[in-house]
Amino acid sequence: MIVKKPAIFIYTSEPDREILREICAGIEEEGVFYEIKEQTLVPKDARSTAARFAWQAAQDSMLGSGIGVSQRDAALQMRGLSVDRCVESYHVPTQAQCRKLGANSARAIKKMPFK
């Protein structure tokens, strides 16, 4: 049996270190756990990679909240939304946007309004 920890899943593929770090800081400030998993199978269509990762992460996370980071693209998903409807997504996000994305992934679980 595979036991999943209650955590936000972050699926990544060669993520920008700075972006990933700020997203994690956003989650940590809200007091929620997260797990980062580097993906080996990367879809060919690179543009929607972050969104696809986020969707898969949301499916896999016990909490239903997932983030995808592919190079300098980041996306947030919640379980139940279709793959093309991210909660939010950015191409080359700023530091503030990264924090916000991280905080919102935690707020999705805490049932709090997004920032």
């Binding site: 400030e29 809200e30 007091g31 139940g80 939304l81 709090m112 997004f114």
Partner: protein
């Protein structure tokens, strides 16, 4: 056969009813419409809104406006309502002596006392002196934690104040756990070297020490006199999750009582009442004064200016009758308004006492004939000004199934609450009272601190719900609704309004229960008070028990909860009270317009 249109110009909406009159004097109602009133009621500016409403109504039966053979305007009651809000108290912080707010994620828990020390001055700290470190957003959370960890063995640090939203991030990296308050925007205003007390509440609790004057005295070592001066600080920190209080030498928080001014009631003799005394005293003085001829305010005070403004607006309508513009009624309501504290460091607000006032201005006559002439010129249709508003409203209300004479109507509009009683012989007694839907909107706007009248109007109109997941929401009555398609994430976790065409998001972070309570209380304060006031005035012998039937009409009677509130209140007087249903189909709207068409037949006979 000819088409007759009745038009009712109200404070906020213009309503139209179109009927077809047969040769035998029978009337067949065809269509109705309503549009927002353009300009102040009773002014030629209304023509625009009238034409829009007429066009809308005629389009529904596939006709043009010129198919009408007669347009009947109501002789609008020459009363115009206006509202204003006056705060009576004010909290001012001099020398920035407190911070109290609800950052969503403070860190640590407990209280701490120490001298404020800026992070860049850590090296200048003395041994054995307790410090509270203040760090600006220019430092990252890792730098802040590293700097504090590096000196934690040499100097005593008891707490941390941060500018950025990073309390948890810093705390997770500290070797020694400390209470941390974050999101303090004006950290640059913190005076270096001053004694401060800091408190972060336990999860699910609110601050205990700093919301208690003796708690502050204990932490900062204050004497009895100083303790007295910090009482307003303690008061404004009640209910907060984190707080900082500074002991600045000249620092002080004042609770000013603003000179709000006196109201003068002219009714034979002149009586006066101070606005500070609150709504209850004002309304009592008003009732005791008797037949009010005019109301004025003390010159050069808030209330004086407010009443002058209302009076001036009205006199512009009818410059000839300048001397005859009189304020004949007002409704005062106590309220609390969250006001930004001047000198606050983190955008704190304090609930201040305020009085909301709706005033009603009466002139001799509104220039209705001018509107009629303008309409006739523009449309080429005969226009007559016919009938007193209250009589027309009664005629219209009588078309509600299940009504009979004698009948009382309560017309709850946007600007005024009017009541009329028609006896079996057709005699009409009527009254106009200040205060209706617009005052309710203003109360909602100020009590919730919305700063947006349009939002307040919508909160008044629509029930609330909280979006609890992407697939379900909880209504304010506890009922759950599930949706097939996921709700837009913009609404996630928010309190929303259930409007006809979808959800409206409330931007402010206010609990649903609070919004609902404020909304209901505002409606109760205005409409229940006014319904009793108005009906008492028109009831035979001023005895409510002599009224058996009350029909509620007007825009505010459409509200989803006001009619029920009144029904409950009137049940004790054995009065049959309910929302009107004009012509059995229109609901509480369109009573006056319908009455105008009906009265045409009466005139023909």
């Amino acid at each position: 056969m000819s088409y007759i249109a009745g038009i009712d110009i109200g404070n906020s909406t213009t309503e139209v009813c179109v009927g077809e009159v047969g040769a035998a004097g029978t009337v067949h109602f065809l269509t109705s419409a309503s549009c927002p009133t353009t300009g102040t009621k009773g002014t030629p500016a209304n023509v625009h809104g009238i034409k829009a409403a007429l066009k809308q109504a005629m389009a529904q039966i596939g006709q043009e406006i010129d198919a009408l053979s007669c347009i009947r305007l109501n002789e609008a009651a020459p009363v115009i309502g206006d509202t204003a809000m006056e705060t009576l108290t004010e909290t001012i912080i001099t020398d920035s002596s407190m911070i109290g707010h609800n950052p969503s994620t403070p860190a640590g828990a407990g209280q701490a006392v120490g001298k404020i020390l800026l992070l860049e001055d850590l090296s200048r700290a003395e041994r054995g002196v307790p410090y509270i470190v203040a760090a600006s957003a220019t430092y990252t959370y890792e730098e802040i934690a590293a700097k504090i960890n590096a000196v934690s063995d040499e100097i005593t640090i008891t707490g941390v104040i941060l500018q950025a939203d990073e309390a948890v991030l810093v705390e997770n990296r500290l070797n020694k756990k400390l209470p941390i308050v974050d999101e303090v925007a004006r950290i640059d205003k913190l005076p270096n070297g001053v004694s401060a007390a800091i408190e972060v509440a336990l999860p699910g609790q609110t601050v205990r020490m700093l919301s208690n004057p003796y708690g502050i005295a204990t932490l900062l070592g204050l004497n009895a006199e100083e303790t007295r001066t910090v009482t307003p600080i303690a008061k404004s920190l009640i209910g907060k999750r984190s707080a900082v209080v500074l002991k600045t030498p000249g620092g002080d928080v004042h609770e000013n009582i603003l000179p709000a001014g006196e109201l003068y009631f002219h009714a034979g003799a002149v009586t006066s009442v101070n606005l500070d005394e609150g709504a209850e005293k004002i309304m009592q003085a008003l009732a005791d004064a008797g037949d009010i001829q005019d109301i004025s305010g003390q010159p050069d005070t808030n209330v004086g200016n407010m009443l002058n403004r209302i009076r001036k607006g009205m006199s512009e309508l009818d410059p000839t009758a300048d001397a005859d513009v009189r304020i004949t009624d007002l409704l005062a309501v106590d309220t609390l308004a969250p006001v930004l504290i001047s000198g606050a460091l983190a955008g704190e607000t304090c609930l201040e006492k305020a009085v909301g006032i709706a005033a009603m201005v009466k002139t001799q006559k509104l220039p209705m004939q001018e509107i009629a002439d303008r309409l006739r010129a523009e449309l080429g249709v005969a226009v007559t000004v016919a009938g007193v508003e209250a009589v027309m409203a009664s005629l219209g209300a009588l078309t509600t199934p299940g009504t009979k004479l004698p009948l009382a109507i309560l017309d709850m509009g946007g600007g005024s609450t009017d009541a009329a009683v028609i006896s079996e012989t057709g005699e009409v007694t009527m009254t106009h009272q200040a205060g209706a839907g617009e005052l309710v909107s203003m109360l909602i706007e100020t009590e919730l601190g919305l700063g947006d009248r349009h939002m307040a109007e919508q909160i008044k109109k629509y029930p609330l719900a909280k979006v609890e997941s992407l697939f379900h929401m909880r209504m304010e009555n506890g009922q759950m609704t599930f949706v097939e398609d996921s709700i837009d994430p913009r609404f996630y976790g928010r309190v929303v309004l259930l409007a006809e065409d979808g959800l409206i998001r409330i931007e402010q972070d206010i609990p649903m229960e609070k919004i609902a309570a404020v909304r209901r209380e505002a409606k109760r304060k205005v409409f229940v008070t006014n319904a009793f006031r108005a009906l008492k005035k028109v009831a035979p012998g001023h005895d409510l028990r002599k009224i058996s039937n009350v029909v509620l009409v007007g825009g505010s009677a459409e509200d989803f909860e006001i009619p029920e509130m009144l029904m409950e209140e009137f049940a004790g007087y054995r009065i049959v009270c309910g929302r009107g249903n004009v012509r059995g189909s229109e609901g509480p709207r369109n009573a006056v317009a319908t009455g105008l068409v009906l009265s045409y037949i009466g005139e023909q006979k």
